[in-house]
Subunit: 455 residues, 2 copies
C-alpha cells in the first residue's frame, strides 16, 4: 500500500474554487436552447424571469461566459462543508486485489447528505439578493429538498417543498429534517394546486412522481408574488454550480500528480456527473487532454442508453419549457427502484449533447448489482453510500476488476455523491434478499416516447 498519496486529499480552504466553470463556453456544439412550448421559439430572459430568479435565468441562458465568480456569501457557506475530500480507496483496492488506483470525490459530508447543497446555497442566495420572500421546489428522495431547506434557513427565506407522495410517506425522516430547517413540506400531488387536483382526479390514489411535483412547484411559484421556482438538477445553471465538485477534484489530483484515466459518475438529471466532469471535459473540448468518462444510470430508467435525443417537457404536467435531451418521454414512470435521485425521465441538455458528441459513454446497471457494490464499499471504505452513488461504485468496481485481469494500474475517479442514511428501507430489502430488478421493455419505452411533443 503506497503511502505517498494520503487516504484523503484535502485542499485548504483558500483553495476552494472562487469561480464556477461553465463548460458550455468550450462546447462547439452548444446544448440546444430551451423552447417556449407554445411558440417553439428559444426562450428569452423575460420569459424565464417569472419562473426563475433573474440571475439564475441569466446563468441558464449564458453559453458563452466560461467562468462565473462565486459570491463571497456563497463561499462562506461552502467553507462550512467544503473543500470535500478526494479519497484514495486503499481499503477497497486491497479487498478487490486490483492494481488499479481508485479515487472518489466524497460529497456526502454535510447534513443534506449529498452534493445538492452546492447548488441549493447558490439558488437561495440569488433569491435572497433579488429580495424574494421564498422559493418553491420539488423533491423525490429528499436530498435536494433537504439541501434547499438548509440553504433557505441560512439566508432566512421561505422554502416550500413538494415531495413525491410515495417518498413523503416512506421517508418521514427526510421530511422531518426539512421541517427542522423550517421548510414546509407538502405531499405531491396535493389538492393545493390546479395541476395537483387534476392529477389526483385523473389518477386516484396516485403516489406521485418527480415530474408531477415539478408541475406543482412551478404553479405555486408563478402564482405567488415574491416566489420563484428552483430545481436541483437537469438545468445548466445547476451544472454550473456543481462544477465546484470537478474543480476541487482536479485541483486535489493535480496536487498529488495523478491524472484519472477513467471518470465515473451516476446520472439521473446529470447534476453530479456534469459537475464532476466539467473541468476534465473542458480539457477534452479544448483538445488538451483525453479521458474516458462513463455515465451510469439505472437499468429501470435508462434515458441515455435507451432514450431518444429530442425536445421534451421537463415535467409530467407539461408546464415547463421544452428541453432537448435524451429522454424516455415526460410521461415515463420508472419502476419503484431505490435510487430516487435517478428516477428522472430526461437528462441535462449539456450531458445529452456531450454524450451525443461522443465525449461521454453511458451504461446502465441493475439495482441488485448496485446494492452488492454498495455493501462491499461500506464494509471496506466505512461509508454507507447512497443508492444513487452506488451506481458509480458498481462500475468503478467492475473497471477495477478488469484491471485485475489485465494488470493495468489505471487511475479510476468516481463521484461518491452522498450517503445512504435515509435509504435503509432499500438496504433492508437487499439484506433480506427481497430486492427485485426491473428493466422496461422496448415497447414500454417506445410508447412513452411516442408522446413527446413534435418540434
Amino acid at each position: 500500500m503506497s503511502q505517498e498519496i494520503p487516504y484523503k486529499i484535502y485542499l485548504n480552504e483558500n483553495e476552494i474554487p472562487s469561480k464556477w466553470y461553465n463548460v458550455r463556453a468550450d462546447m462547439k456544439n452548444k446544448p440546444a436552447p430551451l423552447l417556449n412550448p407554445g411558440t417553439l421559439q428559444p426562450l428569452k430572459l423575460e420569459e424565464l424571469e417569472p419562473i426563475f430568479c433573474t440571475e439564475l435565468a441569466k446563468q441558464e441562458l449564458d453559453d458563452q461566459t466560461p467562468y462565473f465568480d462565486i459570491p463571497s456569501e456563497i463561499l462562506s457557506f461552502y467553507k462550512m462543508y467544503r473543500p470535500s475530500p478526494v479519497v484514495r480507496a486503499y481499503c477497497l483496492e486491497k479487498a478487490l486485489g486490483t492494481p488499479a488506483h481508485i479515487y472518489y470525490k466524497f460529497e456526502g459530508n454535510n447534513t443534506s447528505g449529498s452534493h445538492k447543497l452546492n447548488s441549493a446555497i447558490a439558488q437561495a442566495y440569488y433569491a435572497k439578493q433579488q429580495g424574494l420572500k421564498g422559493v418553491t421546489t420539488e423533491t423525490g428522495a429528499g436530498q435536494w429538498g433537504t439541501a434547499l431547506s438548509m440553504a433557505c434557513a441560512y439566508f432566512g427565506i421561505d422554502c416550500k417543498v413538494y415531495m413525491v407522495k410515495v417518498s413523503y410517506e416512506q421517508k418521514p425522516f427526510r421530511r422531518e429534517v426539512m421541517r427542522t430547517y423550517g421548510a414546509s413540506v407538502t405531499p405531491s400531488p396535493s389538492m393545493d394546486t390546479n395541476i395537483g387536483r387534476k392529477i389526483n382526479e385523473e389518477f386516484p390514489g396516485t403516489t406521485g412522481s418527480l415530474g408531477c411535483a415539478i408541475s406543482e412547484a412551478v404553479e405555486v411559484a408563478v402564482s405567488n408574488p415574491g416566489y420563484r421556482y428552483v430545481l436541483g438538477s437537469v438545468l445548466s445553471q445547476v451544472l454550473l454550480h456543481q462544477s465546484v465538485i470537478g474543480l476541487e477534484a482536479k485541483a486535489a489530483l493535480d496536487k498529488v500528480g495523478v491524472k484519472p484515466d477513467l471518470i465515473i459518475g451516476c446520472a439521473g438529471g446529470g447534476s453530479n456527473l456534469g459537475g464532476l466532469i466539467a473541468p476534465f471535459v473542458g480539457q477534452m473540448l479544448r483538445g488538451e487532454e483525453q479521458y474516458r468518462i462513463i455515465a451510469v444510470e439505472p437499468a429501470s430508467c435508462p434515458s441515455l442508453t435507451r432514450g431518444k435525443y429530442v425536445y421534451d417537457f421537463c415535467d409530467t404536467g407539461k408546464v415547463t419549457p421544452l428541453a432537448k435531451m435524451y429522454t424516455l418521454g415526460s410521461g415515463y414512470i420508472p419502476a419503484p427502484n431505490h435510487a430516487g435521485g435517478l428516477r428522472y425521465h430526461g437528462m441535462s441538455s449539456i450531458i445529452s449533447q456531450l454524450y451525443d458528441d461522443g465525449y461521454i459513454e453511458a451504461t446502465s446497471v441493475k439495482q441488485t448489482d448496485v446494492f452488492n457494490a454498495a455493501t462491499t464499499f461500506a464494509r471496506t471504505e466505512g461509508i454507507l453510500p447512497a443508492p444513487e452513488s452506488s451506481h458509480a461504485i458498481r462500475v468503478a468496481i467492475d473497471e477495477a476488476l478488469k484491471c485485475k485481469e489485465t494488470g493495468e494500474e489505471k487511475n479510476i475517479l468516481f463521484g461518491l455523491t452522498g450517503t445512504g442514511y435515509f435509504d435503509l428501507v432499500a438496504y433492508q430489502k437487499y439484506n433480506d434478499g427481497l430486492m427485485e430488478d426491473y428493466i422496461p421493455t422496448d415497447k414500454e419505452i417506445e410508447e412513452s416516447l411516442s408522446k413527446c411533443p413534435k418540434t
Copy 2:
C-alpha cells in the same frame, strides 16, 4: 468575522496522534479499582480475561503508563475518517451576536455517526490479534453497535449486538446499518440467555434497558468459546482510545494559537467527555494550565449532579464487576428521553474521580431546551446534531450568551460527538411541540440508590 482562523482546522494525516494518552497516569487520586462483586477485592487480570480481550484488560488495569502506541492497523483505519476537524462556529457566533469564539470538535463524519468508532476499531483489532472468533456487545441508541459492526467488518470477525428492545423496534434503520456491516442484532431482553429469560419473566413486556443488554452480551461472551465482551463507554480503556479526540483537538487549536477557556462535553458513560478533555485535564493535573471543564448530562439521568459516588454494578443483571462511580443505582430506569447515549445510570470512574476532585463541573439540562439548541445549531452551522451532542451545544450557547452580556471574548470548545440522522423521531416530536421533559424526584433517586451493593 475574522478570517485568520479557518472554518475548519484540519490536521494532516501524519498529525493524527500515534499514541493514546492515559490520563490516569497523571492523576494523584487514581480512579478506584474494579472490584470482584463476590470477594470485594480488586479484580486481577486473570479474572478479567474471560470477559475482555487480554490486551484490553491490561489497558483497563493500567493506571501508570501515560502513553500507549496506536497499532499501525488501527492508524490505517483512523485515516479513513480522521483527523476530524475542529470547526470554528462563525455562523453560530453571528446568529447569537456573541463576542465569544466557539469551536467544536466534530466526530460525526463517519457512517457510525459518532466518536464511538475510535474505540470500536481498537477493540475489534485486539480481538482479531488474539485470534478470537468474535465479540459481543450491547447498544442503546445504536451508535456503538454500528461502530462496532463497521470495525468487525473491517477485520473480518463476528459481531453479536444486543440492542435494547425499544430501540430495536423504534430504530429499524440503525439495525439495518449493522446488518449491512454483517452483524447479528438481537432485541434485548431476548430469550437466548438466562438473564434475558429471567428479566422477561420478571417484567413481562419490558422494552429493555442498556444495563440489561449488557448483562446479556456478557453472558453470551463468557459462554461461547472464542468470544469476548466489548463495551463502548464507561471503561477506562474506552477513555484511553477516545483520547484521540482531545489530542487532535488540542493539536489543531495549538496550530492556530487558541487556548480554550471553557471545554464542554455531553456525558453519558463519559467516553466522549473523557476523550475530549484528556490532554487538557492532563495539563491541569500536572499543574501546567487551567481550564474550565463542564460535563453536561440530561436532567432525566443526572448521575453526576444528583447521584452518589459509590461502588455499583455496571449492569442491571448484576453480572459485571463493581465500579466506583457517580451512580443513580444500577436499577435506575431513566425516562424514555431521546438521548439514548446518555441514558446510563453511572459514569466513568475516571470522570467520577476528576469530578470529585474538582477538576470538572457538571450541569444538567432539559431535553426541550436541548432540542431548541439543536435546531439553532442545525440552521446556522448546517449540521443536524445528535440529541446527545446537543446537550453540549445547549451549554455552549448559554455560555456564549453570557459572554454577550459581559462582553468577554472567551474561547469555547465543545464536543460535537455525532449526527442526528437516526433521531428524526425525536426531532419530529420536538417540531410538533409534543416533546416533554422529565425530572426524577429525589425519592425516586434515593430509592434506586438504596439498592447499591454495600462495600
